[in-house]
């Protein structure tokens, strides 16, 4: 066979090569985009909160995926009310304590927990057990003062265009949202997106200017790296303060998409079982492209511990 390739072959091969060079990376990239665009949730069922947290984090890719060595972690819990852990008004203190412990063990720096509570801080942090949990595990729970807030613009905000937000939340390299799922008089349910109201200074504005839109707007700006929804017990009535009727799904929901986690957590409530879009801010956030609230397009892995 002749070693020299003909001009025609050369042209064909070159064209094929070029086409491949152009198309294959594109195809690979397209494939990659497609795989990451599938929103994933990990729902861990069980009673042992420490084990549930460990397996949830492992499923999410391990602590190393979130915690950077010696860098502070900002944890937003819900410690808004002076109610006991059994009443479900606040994040489960056992979960909080375990999180801080594992976080520190994974080599994180300080665990900062700014929280602007509704009840007097002393009572809210004390009675919720979260103050004690944080102190035991080495987290720093504090009420942000005036200088801890920073005014920022929300470019994509429809209703909420400016907000004073806790600087730590804005600057963190590892921001974790750890809300509790419970009923809420104003917004229907409060889960992860609504939890950021505890990190802003002027809550009144939200209530005057379309609360649901403001909740969605806020989530265009605050992007947590990890969301852990405490649904070990959920308050069905008289929320958000309670006490009210409780249900015990015994679940902890792990994810990175606030809309998906909220949409899934909403299905735990009888009233919103079929349609989490009945909660207006979930619908708004979904429509604004903040995340995916359509659970049929979310890959949910259930893990039994």
């Amino acid at each position: 066979m002749d070693n020299n390739i003909s001009r025609r072959q050369f042209i064909i091969r070159t064209a094929l090569g070029l086409a491949g060079a152009v198309c294959i990376p594109g195809a690979i990239k397209a494939q990659a985009v497609k795989s990451s665009s599938v929103t994933r949730l990990f729902v861990v069922h069980g009673k042992n909160i420490a084990k549930m947290l460990t397996s949830g984090i492992t499923a999410m890719g391990g602590w190393k995926a979130f915690v950077k060595t010696a860098k502070p972690v900002v944890l937003k819990v819900n410690a808004a009310w002076a109610s006991t852990p059994e009443q479900g008004g606040n994040t489960n203190p056992v979960l909080v304590e375990e999180f801080i412990r594992q976080c520190r063990a994974a080599g994180s720096g300080e665990v900062l927990m700014p929280e602007n509570p509704c009840s007097p801080a002393k009572e809210a942090f004390g009675r919720s057990g979260i103050g004690e949990a944080a102190a035991r595990a080495g987290g720093k729970l504090y009420v942000p003062a005036g200088r801890d807030f920073r005014e920022i613009d929300i470019a994509n905000g429809v209703s909420l265009k400016h907000a004073k937000v806790v600087s730590a939340v804005l600057d963190s390299e590892c921001l974790v949202n750890m809300p509790v799922a419970k009923s809420h008089g104003g917004s229907g349910l409060t889960i992860s997106m609504k939890n950021w109201m505890g990190s802003v200074s002027d809550r009144g504005f939200w209530h005057r200017n379309n609360l649901h839109q403001c909740i969605a707007d806020c989530s265009t700006m605050i992007k947590p790296h990890l969301i852990i929804v405490d649904a070990t017990r959920i308050m069905l009535t008289n929320g958000p303060q309670g006490p009210g009727k409780l249900d015990y799904p015994d679940q902890i929901i792990f994810g990175t998409d606030p809309v998906a986690t909220d949409a899934y957590a909403a299905t735990l409530f009888e009233k919103f079982k079929q349609q989490s879009f009945l909660i207006k801010y979930i619908k708004l956030a979904h429509d604004m492209g903040i995340g995916c609230g359509d659970l049929s397009r979310v890959k949910i892995d259930h893990i039994q511990v």
Partner: protein
């Protein structure tokens, strides 16, 4: 007594009075005891409030002291008197005589007791220890707002008065001094110790023997002498409190005068107390119906009695950790001036605190347990639907329901939006809703006080089972 020793005594007494008020001390009972150490306050409060508490017993040392030693307290221990005397140093009028000024202290004392007997001891605000407490308690203040400092004003006024007219307060106006004098003279009579008969009788001689404050005794001057402007002859005095200018010429020394004075004094006291009683009855009756809008601290007695029974000591105003108690500036009528009222504009009366009740020296605010407090209505919230974000503007608000610790706000659906409605039978009037209501410029939900605080039945509160410490 040595001036230096006296100075040490008075300094330590003042320090003791200050201790409970230091910003870092949390010593509620001691705060109330500073005021109720005064027999005038303790007696008026016990008579007026028809109760005797342990705090009332704080007056016993002073009662015993006065019984045996007359006004020894004034010259050696009284913290207010000490500060007044220090303030006098700067006065230009050091040698002005008060001799021609009437003994208004008697009036205050006996009118006050008459008022107290009628259940309306209005004049407790004139007690020097209460006035001092009003000043000292501002140290406890955590959030600074000018209205709270009103409780310090009477004390500052007292200092100003003492600079203009030195000793006038101690010698002629102080009802605590008058009470001690009355106890002291009674004690003397019962113990058959008549200083006049045992002493040579000249004012100067008596003056050296008695503590200086005794110079404020009766009979030296009277209305008549004041009106007639009897010429004065000054008497030198070693005492610090007293630079007494006695109207020596007008007083015949000796037993004869003493007995005649007593009759006059007795009759006058009786008449004063009687008129006080009548006034008290009238005032207490007149009050009802007025001042519906003001909210009193939890545990406060009926509004009719409260304005009288409050000593205006400022303890509750300044000790409130939420800073929601303020001296009233007229919304509860002229008799209610400077009494504590609650303002819920920014913060509210949360269910974990009953500090104001613990520091009240006169039991105008009764001691109540936290459990009782959580079942006591001090007011009722009302929604002005025309201002409400949910009712009027269709906003998803419900902050009032969110914050209500007693679930006294129900959700009513109106045009697809959750709207609030108050369940008055459950509302405690704590003000959580009002303090947080985001409606501007005016709050849509406000709390109105009630004439008489109301107990709420625990069985009406289905989910109200939160454990207390």
């Amino acid at each position: 007594m040595q001036p230096r020793l006296r100075f040490i005594l008075r300094t330590s007494s003042l320090t003791c009075a200050m201790l409970p008020f230091l910003p870092f001390t949390e010593w509620a009972t001691a705060m109330s005891c500073v005021t109720s150490a005064s027999p005038f306050i303790a007696l008026s409060a016990a008579l007026g409030g028809r109760t005797i508490s342990l705090v009332t017993a704080a007056c016993l040392p002073l009662v015993i002291l006065a019984f045996f030693k007359h006004r020894w307290f004034c010259a050696h221990l009284c913290p207010t008197g000490f500060i007044l005397e220090l303030s006098k140093v700067r006065s230009r009028n050091k040698h002005v005589s008060n001799a021609r000024f009437p003994h208004l202290a008697d009036w205050l004392l006996f009118l006050g007791i008459g008022l107290a007997a009628a259940g309306y001891p209005l004049l407790m605000a004139f007690d020097p220890l209460s006035i001092l407490s009003g000043f000292l308690s501002t140290w406890q203040r955590q959030n600074l707002e000018w209205r709270a400092f009103m409780s310090a004003l009477p004390f500052l006024g007292l200092i100003a008065l003492n600079i203009v007219q030195p000793n006038l307060w101690c010698q002629r106006l102080c009802p605590l001094g008058a009470a001690q004098h009355f106890l002291g003279t009674t004690g003397r009579r019962l113990l058959k110790r008549e200083p006049q008969s045992s002493s040579p009788g000249s004012p100067a001689a008596r003056h050296r023997e008695d503590p200086p404050s005794l110079q404020m005794s009766y009979g030296r001057t009277r209305w008549s002498s004041w009106l007639r402007r009897v010429p004065q002859s000054p008497v030198a005095c070693r005492g610090v409190l007293c630079e007494q200018v006695a109207a020596a010429g007008s007083v015949p020394a000796g037993g004869q005068h003493e007995s005649s004075r007593r009759t006059v004094v007795r009759r006058r006291f009786f008449l004063l107390a009687l008129s006080g009683g009548i006034a008290g009855l009238l005032l207490a009756r007149k009050k009802s119906g007025a001042a519906l809008a003001v909210i009193r601290p939890p545990g406060a007695v009926n509004e009719n009695v409260f304005t009288g029974l409050c000593a205006r000591c400022g303890n509750c105003v300044n000790v409130c950790p939420e800073g929601i108690i303020f001296p009233d500036m007229g919304s509860s009528g002229i008799c209610g001036l400077f009494t504590p009222v609650l303002n819920y504009d920014h913060r509210y009366c949360n269910e974990w605190c009953s500090k104001c009740a613990a520091v009240c020296p006169t039991a105008a605010i009764r001691h109540i347990s936290l459990e009782q407090k959580r079942l006591t209505a001090i007011g009722t919230a009302r929604i002005d639907k025309s201002k409400c974000l949910a009712w009027e503007a269709g906003q998803n608000c419900m902050v009032c329901q969110e914050f209500c610790p007693y679930q006294a706000i129900t959700i009513v659906e109106h045009g697809g939006v959750n709207c609030p409605e108050v369940r008055e039978e459950l509302c405690r009037g704590c003000g959580a809703c009002q303090s947080q209501c985001p409606a501007i410029p005016q709050k849509a939900i406000t709390v109105r006080g009630m004439l008489s605080q109301r107990a709420i039945k625990a069985e009406n509160c289905p989910f109200f089972a939160r454990k207390l410490p």
